[in-house]
Symmetry: C3
Subunit: 289 residues, 3 copies
């Protein structure tokens, strides 16, 4: 049974809002344990939150409740929902933030958080995290069935999936997804796994239409059309680790999420390339792979 | 019985100080659970901390211990205290940080943290959070009675309350309290509750001397004399939600704490108005309400 | 038996990486409790992390596991290790980050984290915190013996110790260690304890070669050769507390870690002096002490 609540928001660390949600959870489900994913999603950045959830879910125990409050439409007609998708219970606004988890694990059920027994009273117009979402997460932990929280939510909102497709026999096109604190840029080209010291295997993730294939990583070429540079940047070969790359030099590696990442060893690829979410990334495979 | 310790400090996130306080608590009361309110109160900003506590206490289980270390006078003669006020046990410096909780819930008892059995030894001159306050909070969780921690603390320090008063039959004067991460400005004009789609009711909070009253929110006018602008800014009408306000436009809403807030939808009212804590906010009510 | 995992990283607060490590721990050891030390160690700053651990360990319950991921060499040949040192179980990269804990408490045992039963599979090249270190910490909490995690790690890496030595009968030379959020500068001159209102006692810490001695704090003189200033700055006397120092004035106090600290009351010594880690600090003792 669920007893863990993982919390993801764009509330930042300045205010007591996250703590207040935890207080609400503790009052309803004293045995719940909470884990912070991050509260520094850029305000309203639904796609970044969706990706953070996809990164996290495979590493948490089955039955974990993901309380997700990245909610630029709070107070509007967007629905508050809870959903079951694979090992995850999802609680938050119906604005697409759960897209990648639905896509990866399959969506089993979704409900609108309408039952006043499982909300605080009154419900404010501005802080549904406290008044609707935290109580719903806590009641799930207490053992309330998903279906008891409200009526079925038909057709939950889904974001467009990131670009990731085979553009020719030996070329795969993707995009920059986001940058992290270390300045590493994750791309949508995934999943990549090392089969031996020099061989990579690509298998499609989400809705990527790409043929699974093995290739020589040393002979692959990656081109990044970063918005911050006049010319695309080309990289020959995909490295195994940061430590293969001379300090200060940009390079391509397979990151911890099994995506193709652009990195600068002990530096920032975000700054070096001026790349942004959406910039094109092309992977040219060796023709005789 | 208490088992939760909510922690509020101005320690920031760079140093291990908060973690060390939790280590001290875990050593004394292994079953205690801790919840962070925030550690990013501006250094020494006692009023901001006092307001954060008032926001949080109503949402936590009764018996929660609030370990509060915003303590610019550490090492001076200010007293270390613990207090009982309504559902809350308060532990921290006697510098006024508990003012609003005393005022809102009533102060039942306060003691000076003088008993060496409930402190670490030695006590440093610079980190009472670790040496005095965390141990006191942990002993309260273990079941030690408040009165056992030390002698009565007479007349705990109280901050002046924020300005909030009726200046004429149809005008209420308040002030800016503080800005949050989203750039929303909370004012001292509270509490406001929606009675129907267009009707607001005001009831005084803390020591506000304001007559409770219902009025048409669409016909109210709010004037903010922000320090950053040459002219006061006037707003006609109070909106129900962020999403009623065009993106980028400043407006007045009722925030999640039931205060009158100045907001910019997907923008920052703090930056737009250059407003600061203390700036005047006037609410003109419709004359025939 | 251990049930606490204290976590120290340089991951920052922007990404879900720390939360993901906690998810891995919760899956392996559901009864583990985690405490964050800080995740804002400057990226790759092994010495700052080593010092934060030394600050923390004395205040945590014996048997706590310290999961430490400040790991600029991830993916290289640096060994992943676990160690027992005094009351602490240490888990992290073998890059010197545990030096001060080894030095202060003594190193009892160290192993290389080689047994695949106690790692995730597959192990990425870039996120050993999730794939190797968090699982090892969780298995220690579950009761797995240190020795079961892998073969002995001979000669774990140790950093050079900070300068701290007696340069003449009445002079002790040290260095700036680091600055904290409040702008206080900690020096390597420690440990200092007040014996009465005016008398300090110095006893060496780590490998400091300094004769223990009592002296009149009012008559001591401290000279700081800060890189940011053309001339060294001299301070007469060591103060007992912040509140003895006029607001805005720089002074010397004994900090909460019992080190000689340079502070500006309600200001920043880091900014005032432009001091950096490594800058020289001299303590001249009164000649007739």
């Amino acid at each position: 049974m669920a007893h863990l609540v993982a919390i993801l928001t764009d509330f930042g660390d300045l205010d007591p809002y996250v703590g207040i949600m935890k207080g609400v959870i503790a009052g309803i489900a004293p045995n719940a344990a909470t884990i912070d994913l991050t509260h520094n999603i850029a305000p309203g950045d639904i796609q970044a939150a969706a990706f953070a959830l996809l990164q996290a879910v495979p590493y948490f125990p089955p039955g974990t409740v993901y309380l997700t409050v990245v909610d630029p439409g709070v107070g509007s007609r967007r629905r508050p929902i809870a959903a079951a998708a694979g090992p995850a219970f999802l609680v938050g606004p119906d604005n697409g933030v759960f897209t990648y988890v639905y896509e990866h694990f399959g969506l089993q059920a979704a409900v609108v958080l309408a039952d006043p027994r499982y909300r605080l009273s009154p419900v404010s117009n501005t802080f549904h995290g406290r008044d609707i979402f935290a109580p719903a997460a806590a009641h799930l932990v207490r053992g309330v069935a998903l279906e008891a929280l409200g009526p079925e939510a038909r057709d939950p909102v889904r974001l467009p999936l990131p670009r990731f497709s085979q553009t020719s026999a030996n070329e795969i096109a993707g995009q920059v997804l986001h940058g992290d604190r270390f300045g590493n840029l994750a791309s949508s080209i995934a999943w990549l796994d090392w089969r031996d010291e020099t061989t990579l295997e690509i298998t499609p993730w989400l809705a990527g239409r790409v043929a699974p294939r093995r290739f020589d990583a040393r002979r692959a070429r990656v081109t990044v059309a970063a918005g911050g540079l006049a010319q695309p940047t080309t990289f020959d070969g995909i490295h195994r680790t940061f430590s293969d790359v001379p300090a200060g030099q940009a390079a391509i590696i397979v990151g911890s999420e099994r995506h193709l990442d652009i990195v600068v060893n002990r530096g920032s690829a975000v700054e070096r390339l001026g790349a942004q979410s959406g910039d094109e990334v092309l992977l040219a495979l060796p023709s005789d792979a």
